[in-house]
Symmetry: C2
Subunit: 229 residues, 2 copies
Amino acid sequence: MKYSASKENYLKAVFHLQQAQGTVSTNALAAAMQTRAASVTDMLKKLKSQKLLQYERYKGVKLTAEGKRLAIHIVRKHRLWEYFLVDKLGFGWEEVHEMAEELEHISSKKLIDRLEEYLGFPDTDPHGDPIPDNQGRMRVSKAVQLQELPVRTTCIISHVGDQSAEIMELLNHLRLTIGTRLEVKRKFSFDQSLEVMLPDESLITISQHLSSNLFVKPEKNLALSGPES
Amino acid sequence: MKYSASKENYLKAVFHLQQAQGTVSTNALAAAMQTRAASVTDMLKKLKSQKLLQYERYKGVKLTAEGKRLAIHIVRKHRLWEYFLVDKLGFGWEEVHEMAEELEHISSKKLIDRLEEYLGFPDTDPHGDPIPDNQGRMRVSKAVQLQELPVRTTCIISHVGDQSAEIMELLNHLRLTIGTRLEVKRKFSFDQSLEVMLPDESLITISQHLSSNLFVKPEKNLALSGPES
DNA sequence: AAAATTTATTAGGCTTGCTTAAAATAGATT
DNA sequence: AATCTATTTTAAGCAAGCCTAATAAATTTT
Ligand SMILES: [Mn+2]
Ligand SMILES: [Mn+2]
Ligand SMILES: [Mn+2]
Ligand SMILES: [Mn+2]
């Protein structure tokens, strides 16, 4: 069975939205797809008739097992192509999302499996998001928002919360990328901004907007660690 | 300006057909596109209104300079992706045409220029067809049909006449590929078949149908070469 | 040159994916 | 409970790309 690029994009959008919310609203989908609610309703009827999602009018929407399987396969293709573009063709992580948005619709399963092998079975894409394997299995991230860490915690940047070139432009400027180690030095209650220390011991300030979109893996909490001998 | 995959396919088909014939007929295009003549007429009107081709009813069709420029760019993408699939991902030359038929519609110009660089600026695709450069320049092949060579000529296979998996299946079986050196030993007037010698001195028979789809570059004509001392 | 045949175009209709405007339903407010 | 408001659906229509059937033009045959 082959589906249009438009249907694949809808499935992917429902998949991402139902990670955050449980069930997905028509308006949320319209916003994500940059289209109108009426168009979404039309498409939901079609996808329902193909048994790719559960949908009752006025009740929101959820993927079926088959819909989810397909959505994950699109995500897999998207992330493998992004990895290719950065790792092999030398693009910056802020440039690749748009191209992957097209490449993810190339249909050959064999092509994507060969590409994955060629790339050396990468675990995550250039933005730190996990790449599903060819069975659709996907590692679950234990990362938390940088915003939520207490002062004096050391952590490593694991992924970014959205795919916009804007957030990556800012991170490039601040010399922050996936894998960068940070220590949270101060939190300002006035605007929820953070002061963090980089590996070179320089200090930078991070807005609440940015820190809520930066996901990190905590390393250790210096405040709670026992005294060194 | 961005064009649909369908329009790009039409432009490419007109381009290939007008290489052989000068001007292209509606029916020839319908056959090449695997569609109906009525659909072709519809599309020709649209492409004409976009000034991509010259078209007068009942008079056939020819690309404009802009149409040709676009068509060559699609051909460039098609062949670079084919090269990638064979050289980097290890596909056989008989497997890649279908995938390239989709990949050629990926729009990013920067992507294809980076890919070309990554591949080392190949001259020809896996089937021996020339790859246009990023200015649309394309080497002209001096190859001739194997069928046309006189007996005792040595030659090197330069490209195949169509993109079907069937011809490549046969060539794989006969251990013939781009770059293989052949000597025409005999021509049979009954069915126009040829007997040719391979580099390992084995002899094989080649049908007229195959030899008219095999393009070669003549090396030297042994019959005319002077006596060795 | 007329007739027959081939080739191409027009007419009318279908599906997909989208739009705006109007109507219906659900949820919140009084 | 009635009313207001936000959300969602329905209705009607458009463009792209295809189809079949009918018609017209060009070409070949007689
Ligand atoms: Mn992405
Ligand atoms: Mn996409
Ligand atoms: Mn194509
Ligand atoms: Mn080719």
